[in-house]
């Protein structure tokens, strides 16, 4: 598309709207870091003095540390498991002509269209009926469930992005399925796998509703934060923690985008 074609000249009102929209998106979130450095227990204007005491308090909080480690543990396990399941699913769907795969795929994608609270309570009911105690493992199971559809979608894009004949060429040159995977498929979809891991980790790390029902005595970070919100004197600490989370997620998203732009790209030619 040529820039500045007569149909798409710059549209000033629309641009103003876009900037306003971005302000609406960012304004509330940017208040978190602003007030996190404010030396007052109440979150209110006018700002008082600059302080880092909330950060110091937060870093010294053992419960927060424990919750953070729990979340990391759940996030890593859930993202690895979901991505492995995602690789199977994405490869099967993109590489084989499968009869009646659409409704089947629908089952796998179902968590995308079910309110998480329903999946959360349903799992809770099953676990309690089976007498399985709630723990970080049960949270991980719940998170794998909601991560798999995202993993499959991410990886499908990766698998579709490279020519099927690459894998056929490897087979033709003497590799069996195992070697094809390690010598061609894996290196080619590696950026996708990494993106899937990052995405699933982020989803799990942020997830609150499923964790709320499925966590036992060990809270994940969102559950910890939710607990803190009930106490006004804890709010500045939440602000500090929130600021750190925002900073880390922004970094991770930029990293993910950068990785996505670096995937090996083969020029595709049309089939006959």
């Amino acid at each position: 598309m040529s820039a500045g074609g007569y149909m798409h000249r710059p549209n000033r009102p629309l641009m103003v709207y876009a900037i306003g929209y971005l302000a609406f998106l960012y304004m509330p979130i940017l208040l978190l870091p602003l007030f996190s450095f404010n030396d007052a227990i109440y979150i209110a204007f006018p700002l008082k003095a600059f302080t880092t005491q909330w950060y110091q308090q937060m870093f010294a909080n053992d419960a927060m540390h424990a919750a953070l480690m729990n979340s990391v543990q759940v996030g890593v396990s859930a993202s690895v498991l979901a991505t492995i399941l995602g690789i199977f699913g994405a490869k099967a769907v993109t590489r084989f002509r499968i009869k009646g795969v659409k409704p089947v795929l629908g089952v796998v994608m179902l968590p995308l269209v079910i309110p998480p609270i329903i999946m959360g309570v349903a799992l809770l009911i099953l676990l309690s009926q089976m007498g399985i105690p709630l723990s970080l493992i049960t949270v991980t199971v719940g998170h794998v469930l909601i991560c798999v559809p995202f993993s499959i979608v991410t990886l499908m894009a990766s698998f579709e992005g490279f020519d099927k004949s690459m894998e056929e060429a490897a087979a033709d040159l003497g590799d069996n399925a195992w070697w094809i995977f390690w010598r061609v498929t894996f290196p080619m979809v590696f950026p996708g796998i990494l993106a899937s891991l990052l995405l699933c980790f982020t989803i799990s790390f942020d997830e609150f509703i499923m964790a709320f029902f499925l966590a036992g005595t060990d809270p994940t970070l969102p559950i910890f934060i939710y607990g803190q919100l009930r106490f006004p004197q804890k709010l500045p600490g939440v602000l500090a923690l929130g600021t750190c989370i925002v900073a880390v997620t922004f970094t991770v998203v930029f990293l993910a985008q950068w990785l996505r732009g670096r995937g090996p790209t083969a020029p595709k030619t049309e089939g006959n």
């Binding site: 598309m1 820039a3 149909m7 710059p10 549209n11 629309l14 641009m15 709207y17 876009a18 971005l22 960012y26 304004m27 509330p28 979130i29 208040l31 978190l32 007030f35 209110a44 204007f45 006018p46 399941l85 199977f88 699913g89 490869k91 099967a92 084989f96 002509r97 499968i98 089952v107 796998v108 179902l110 269209v113 309110p115 998480p116 609270i117 329903i118 309570v121 349903a122 799992l123 809770l124 009911i125 099953l126 199971v141 794998v144 798999v148 003497g174 069996n176 982020t202 942020d206 609150f208 509703i209 709320f212 969102p222 934060i225 919100l229 929130g242 925002v246 997620t249 991770v252 998203v253």
Partner: protein, 310 residues
């Protein structure tokens, strides 16, 4: 010769037909091989989706007595769900809040997506990232940040007061259905922006040029080409926002107040303080059914409109 060495390798005998009919069928049917590869994922997902749902359905027909659940079939729970006026009011309010939220978010996000798709020519990706970045921060924090904005001592009230515009904090800001709608609209904005943006970006620009060539002005082009072709994105956005917000209990709990309570809050309480799991299950299932009907209805209506237009 390469082939001579490779023929003597065990792999050949491995991949040779072992004579079994099943093996032949497996080899000939690409579908079967596909399903074999899909099976681990499918098994895990099907099990993790179906077993809990089945259990929940069963439980919704049972009775809670004290701390125990009696396994006698009853429709009492559903009777309660459909006759209790509190539940009816909650259902209606939840529908209103989620529906308004989905519509409002799509309406305010469409121009934004349109701007990036049609008027941004350089660094498009940067704009897309910018639009979706807040979504990647914790959901809880996004909701909490609105408590900071709208609260009694919050940014708006304290800001207006320190400017001397008001003397008393505006109490209606927080703890109302409107606060819930605003907060949800902000929290789920990315789910509207992305599908709409993608559907707009996919529109072949030569279609618009053809429409212009055939005499359409800017408004006519938008109404006759751009809008209809971006409808899949709009529908997807509506569903993607309506479904999760219908089952959200965090936002109403944090910014809703008593007037902003939604269905999911009562479901959550059934599994918590109120400890009536069978009734909670019946509520959750009713919720699921209503969400399905609403989504199915939306898809059906758009399909009807589309067919009539063609």
């Amino acid at each position: 010769m390469v082939d001579a060495t490779s023929l003597s390798e065990p792999e050949l005998t491995e991949s040779r037909p072992r004579g079994g009919r099943l093996a032949t069928l497996f080899r000939r049917s690409e579908s079967l091989r596909g399903y074999a590869l899909l099976s681990p994922t499918l098994a895990v997902m099907a099990l993790a989706m179906c077993a809990p749902t089945a259990m929940m359905v069963a439980l919704s027909f049972w009775v809670q007595s004290g701390f125990d659940i009696t396994m006698t079939f009853t429709l009492d729970n559903y009777a309660k769900v459909f006759t209790n006026p509190i539940f009816e009011a909650l259902f209606l309010r939840t529908l209103m809040i989620s529906g308004t939220c989905a519509l409002a978010t799509v309406l305010i996000s469409y121009p934004m997506a349109y701007y990036v798709a049609f008027h941004v020519h350089r660094r498009k990706l940067a704009w897309v990232i910018m639009m979706t970045l807040p979504f990647w921060t914790s959901y809880l924090l996004r909701v909490f940040s609105w408590k900071v904005v709208l609260g009694y001592n919050g940014a708006i009230n304290s800001g207006l007061m320190s400017l001397g515009l008001i003397s008393e904090p505006l109490e209606f800001l927080l703890y109302s259905p409107e606060a819930v709608i605003i907060t949800l609209a902000h929290a789920w904005a990315a789910f509207a922006i992305l599908p709409i943006y993608v559907s707009l970006e996919k529109i072949d620009r030569s279609l618009l040029e053809a429409a212009a060539d055939l005499g359409d002005g800017a408004v006519a082009r938008f109404l006759r080409i751009t809008l209809p072709l971006s409808m899949p994105g709009v529908i997807a956005a509506l569903l993607l926002i309506f479904i999760p917000t219908f089952g959200d209990f965090v936002t109403p709990a944090l910014v809703g107040g008593p007037d902003g309570m939604m269905l999911a809050n009562i479901v959550q309480k059934m599994f918590g303080k109120l400890n009536d799991w069978p009734l909670g299950s019946a509520l959750a299932i009713s919720m699921m059914i209503i969400v399905s009907i609403m989504c199915g209805g939306l898809i059906w209506v758009t399909r009807q409109i589309k067919e009539r237009a063609i």
